[in-house]
């Protein structure tokens, strides 16, 4: 018998509501809004309340896929990242820095968003930075 509550932040939008995921014997079975969270104060929207449901979905991507001969094929992170870096460099060299754009996310932390814009500006040399919260 193992029941745990794991404090975490909602991945659905940039609001950042806090909740506990309920884990019973290794499976995430429920969401409880965290009363002490200063952002959400024990309240959630309908998405947050159901956030645990996607965790064990068989449809989730659990590893990188690369299209090889027209078919999505599971590959290692190293291979996926090497391929992406190589193509990005080729595109940049052929068409200039502004031919690349970066789409940041409301679902990651501030620090991760900081990194992506820094990478866009300093490493690639473009101000083409936007985000998924422009709904």
């Amino acid at each position: 018998m193992e029941y745990r509550t794991v404090l975490t932040t909602c991945t659905y939008c940039g609001c950042g509501c806090g909740f506990y995921l309920e884990v019973l014997d290794g499976r995430v079975v429920g969401t409880i809004p965290c009363k002490t969270n200063p952002v959400s104060e024990g309240k959630l929207c309908v998405k947050g309340w159901n956030v645990h449901e996607f965790i064990h979905s068989p449809k989730r991507l659990t590893q990188p896929l690369l299209r090889k001969d027209g078919a999505l094929t599971p590959v290692s992170w190293d291979e996926a990242l090497d391929f992406t870096a190589k193509r990005m460099r080729e595109i940049k060299e052929a068409n200039g820095s502004d031919s690349v754009a970066f789409l940041a996310s409301a679902k990651v932390t501030n620090e991760e968003n900081y990194l992506i814009q820094k990478f866009a500006r300093a490493a690639v040399g473009t101000n083409n930075v936007d985000h998924c919260a422009r709904l």
Partner: protein
């Protein structure tokens, strides 16, 4: 106060009387439900008074039901205030939990909390900590009833109009245990469409709380729109009491329903 509760929990776990104890734990400054399984490790054990009495209460009976369904043979302990105990009794009556598999450890609520809750019984039958406060179950219902009826309807419709259909009231409620909920049933709520209209959503839930709501107030606390749901359900409870002489959770300590449960209205 918390030390007395901890001592009792420690004893229950150490003696093996309970396999686990569902309470509250503070970790990294946040308080949430937790299953304690080792009497020697009650680090962070709290009773849910962070800045004000009872400001970090959770529907622990919901966790109790979930774990019990998975482990029907095990006896579990649970932290209860007056309202949680009323919940337990009602859950025993409705066969959601088995009384012989639950050991509750009670705490009494201070007057400041009883006043905020307008609580009819701010303490369980037995409690290991706190003192029995006075019941003062008046205020919100009387205030809204003092408004002229046409105006009152407008007030309620105005409140319901703020609803964002988060289903938080239903989700947080320790008495909403139905495996299939009307509020999500296909003939009530088409999949993929905007959630059901007002005030049908709210009045459906309010009617379901008849004979069920134990007035813990967690729904109001979870409502992002600050709709005074608890006041609505308090009124429902008053009507049920008047018509059926029954108020959920106020049966005798063996969990038997009042013999008057069907009352005069049953003869109609």
């Amino acid at each position: 106060m918390v030390e007395k509760v901890k001592a009792r929990v420690q004893e229950l776990l150490a003696s093996g009387k309970v396999k686990g104890f569902i309470g509250l734990r503070e970790l990294h400054g946040h308080i949430g439900p937790y299953l304690f399984t080792d009497g020697g490790d009650l680090d962070g054990f709290v009773i849910g008074d962070r800045k004000a009495a009872g400001d970090t209460r959770y529907p622990l009976n919901t966790q109790l039901i979930m774990i019990s369904r998975q482990y029907p043979e095990e006896t579990l302990g649970v932290l209860v205030r007056g309202c949680d105990e009323r919940g337990l009794k009602t859950l025993f009556n409705t066969n959601q939990l088995k009384p012989e598999k639950v050991v509750s450890v009670g705490i009494a609520c201070p007057q400041e909390l009883a006043d905020v809750c307008e609580c009819m019984k701010p303490f369980p039958e037995e409690f290991v900590a706190g003192e029995a406060s006075e019941a003062r179950p008046f205020g919100s219902v009387e205030r809204i009833e003092s408004i002229e009826i046409g105006e009152r309807l407008k007030v309620w419709l105005g409140e319901f109009a703020k609803c964002i259909k988060c289903y938080g009231c239903r989700n947080i409620c320790p008495m909403c245990y139905c495996p299939e909920c009307t509020l999500e049933a296909k003939d009530f709520q088409a999949v993929g469409s905007i959630a059901s209209e007002n005030p049908i959503f709210h009045l459906t839930r309010a009617l379901h709380m008849a004979g069920r709501c134990i007035d813990c107030g967690l729904c109001s606390e979870a409502c992002p729109a600050d709709i005074p749901l608890r006041t609505l359900y308090k009124k429902i409870a008053d009507i049920v009491d008047l018509e059926f002489q029954y108020r959920p959770g106020y049966q005798d300590s063996k969990g038997k329903m009042s013999p008057n449960v069907l009352g005069e209205a049953a003869k109609h």
